[in-house]
Amino acid sequence: MSAILAVPILQVRGLRVEFAHPLGAVHAVDDVSFTLEANERLGLAGESGSGKSTMALAILRMIKPPGRIVGGRVTLDGVELSALDHEGMRRLRLAGIAMVPQGSMNSLNPVMRIKAQLADAFRDHGVQLSSADLDARIAELLSTVGLRAEVANLYPHELSGGMKQRACIAIAICLRPKVIIADEPTSALDVVVQRQVMETLARVQRALGCAIILVGHDMGLMAQFVDRLGVMYAGRLVEVAPIGEIITRPRHPYTQALISSLPSLEARGTMQGIPGLAPLLRDLPPGCAFHPRCARAEARCRAEKPAVRDLGPGQQAACHFA
Amino acid sequence: MNGFTRYLGRNLSLVVGSGLLLFLLAFVVVGHFIVDVEDARALSVRPLQPPSWRYPFGTDRQGRDLLAVMVAGTPLTLRIGFIAGILGVGIGTVLAFVAAYYRGWADTIIRGIADIGLTVPGLLVLIIIAVGIRGGLSVNQMALVVASLAWLNPTRTIRSQVLSLRERGYVEIARMSGMSGPAIIFFELMPNLLPYLAATLVNAVSSAILASIGLEVLGLGPIDAPTLGMTLYWVNFNAAMINGWWWWWLAPTVIIVLVFLGLFFVTVGLDEIANPRLRKSA
């Protein structure tokens, strides 16, 4: 049983994020707990607005007002992050947990060369390098992500979308982090480039031996890439299970709907969407937030919020019927 | 109505700005009842009287009652600003729509002229124009002179605004559904631009007043009109500051400052309506 031998590298316990709003606080992340093991690839899926990106930022303690982390603990390799001061947390970003930004975004400073954007990461983390060593390190990092060394001297606008995203990955791995959080790293890239970027990400993960949290909504991509998948709905983590398990035997009705909405090659029937609309976080229904869209909903679902229950090794779900 | 007042509660700039302008309006209206506007002419009252119960704002060296001058002059100055501002924004809007909607050579020419015109210091061009047609400008002619450059800035800013609107989905849909160019402009673009146009207008009025006061202080204004700028011209002409006749410049200065502050805060408030995105960050 490999799951028993696995060492937890990142533990998230009861994480809560609130956004202040004139009509009452909004719980963007509501009591989320999960464990990430060394070398593991964990996927976090959910509709937009389900709180998955907010949670990625919350782990890095990068929530901006009016948002606020109101509870929970994040532990990286035995270090409790909420106990760190501002400076300690800053040093831990990139060195301990690195982020790979969304592929659709302008995540590189348009007026700085790639080289300078890598160099300031080294410098601000106290890595002193001679100019020649720095050039060598940068060339090595770029080749790891499949970019030519000359790219170092280019500006972001001179790179294609896929190249920019590789450059971001190069930055993310430059201090050999223990965990990489990739928030939809391939959104807005075309399919071929998407594949290349994911392969790059997989390769550097193996080379570094780090764990990855992949945030996204593309279930197909998740199925190919991750070891375990978590599903978020309305700020809650409603199910986590090994990927094989969750695809074949989803426990939560929302996960079931999500899986059956995937087009498959065998069943060429009508594609099934999930009935109803994603709920407004500001105005969540009482009880289980999914009940208005759930085919199995009963009186209990409307009244009582289901707790997260362990269903097996590395497997949990929050549903009265799971 | 309740929602409206609540909105005003959040848009403080608009409240402060309109408040200041309403105060000036009240001053002018009430002023017309308590003072004889004829005393704004030279040689009407005893010269160089400091403020007193009889002459609350004092009198100037040529024998004008400064309260009467302010009551008569404030609307004149505002009139110059509004005529020039409305003309400027009107012409600017038409040019901007033509340039941004039809693009091509029309856009190149209109944008080129506006861009070049804006790098030239407006006051100096106005000086050349005013000197060229000298021989006693009337208040309305003054407004026309100022209007001759007042369209440059509106053209430029409205053009870029229309360009960004043009790319939105609903314009695309209107175009595909066979709506004509002018119809799209009127029914699809205009309503979305209205708050923005209002902000541009107030801004243009403010610049026009600034330009007209500038010309007047330099002695190129309507010599016999008691506008705020002309009052400052006489202040400077008679070296009122060095001679210690403080009341002479105090009244026009305070009123001009109120005019500009009022217009400025109204612009800020209208901007907030036009760009709701700014609301959170402001």
Partner: protein, 334 residues
């Protein structure tokens, strides 16, 4: 930056020069009568000590402009004069030439405007950046309302108020002029100090107003920039907040400020003309004021032309420097 771009920008500059010259030439003609001639005759009729000068000038004037020649020939020869920097004689101060008089006042204006523009731009930009920075001290928020209010006031009105407060009520600073009367301009320490004391009030009235504008503009740009993805990622990189602030936020937010500077130069100058008049500061603005009072058309035209050309030059320089700060510009044009 491409050679084509540089040529294009220079082309725009020459168009501005040509337009300014043509404006100067045609606008007075449009008014029907020839104001120069009227003025000359008027002066001549007054007789007296200028009589001889006027006769001479009328001659020079008629030869130079060839009033009998067709308009286009007059126009071409006028353009020729302009190229040579010859703006004729001053009517009111014959036999002094317009070029000579402008040359004398230009250093004053360039000194005052150069210093105030740079100071207010730098101070305002830094202030605006700090106002938007979440880690800036709390009290800075109190600076906003006065900055807004100051920004809305014309330069010369603040000048009047300052003059009353700091020169008349509390005579800290001289009220009028560029240097004390009866002092001979020289490069001595006392003279320079005297000049600086005289320039303080005009400079202050420009700086206080202009700083507010730059600060408000910069603050707005900073707020926009701080929401950019690359700033979020920079923070995710664990960079020091000073690094994020300077190299990511400030560095990008300042670009539109520089574009705005090129556009604002004209307005700053228009406002400064009036400040000079109010304070009797011996620069271009006061010279222009005198020229208007004395109906000295050659002088007015010379000044307007010189100022438009110098501003065009300043804008051209800014345009040429800008691509060095923004690597995207040269790329976009290729």
């Amino acid at each position: 930056m491409q050679l084509r771009d540089i040529l294009k920008r220079c082309g725009v500059f020459f168009v501005i020069v040509w337009l300014a010259a043509s404006l100067n030439f045609f606008l007075p003609k449009l008014s029907g009568q020839d104001p120069v001639r009227t003025k000359l005759l008027q002066q001549a009729q007054l007789g007296g000590y200028v009589q001889q000068g006027i006769d001479e000038m009328v001659k020079v004037y008629e030869v130079r402009f060839g009033l009998d020649r067709p308009l286009w020939q007059q126009y071409l020869s006028y353009l020729g004069d302009v190229v040579r920097g010859d703006f004729n004689f001053s009517i009111a101060n014959y036999p002094r030439t317009v070029a000579d008089m402008i040359g004398e006042s230009i250093p004053w204006t360039v000194g005052l405007l150069g210093m105030t523009t740079i100071l207010s731009f730098v101070i305002g930009t830094i202030l605006g950046a700090l106002l938007a920075w979440p880690r800036a001290p709390r009290w800075m928020a109190w600076l906003m309302p006065p900055l807004w209010a100051l920004h809305a006031i014309p330069f010369f009105l603040l000048g009047l108020i300052l003059m009353y407060l700091l020169a008349f009520q509390v005579p800290l600073l001289p009220i009028f002029g560029g240097y004390s009367m009866g002092v001979n301009p020289s490069l001595s320490f006392t003279f320079i100090l005297d000049v600086m004391r005289h320039a303080t009030l005009p400079a202050l009235s420009i700086i206080l107003v202009a700083t507010g504008g730059w600060a408000l503009g910069m603050r707005g740009m900073m707020v926009t920039t701080m929401g950019e993805d690359y700033v979020v990622f920079a923070e995710g990189k664990g960079l020091k907040s000073l690094t994020v602030f300077t190299r990511y936020c400030l560095r990008n937010a300042i670009l539109p400020q520089i574009t705005a500077l090129a556009l604002a130069l004209g307005q700053i100058l228009s406002g400064a003309v009036l400040v000079e008049v109010i304070f009797g500061y011996p620069g271009i603005g006061t010279l222009l004021f005198q020229a208007i009072r004395e109906n000295d058309h050659f002088l007015i035209q010379g000044i307007v032309f010189t100022v438009i050309v110098s501003l065009g030059l300043a804008t051209l320089l800014l345009d040429l420097v800008y691509p060095l700060l923004d690597p995207r510009i040269s790329y976009r044009r290729t």
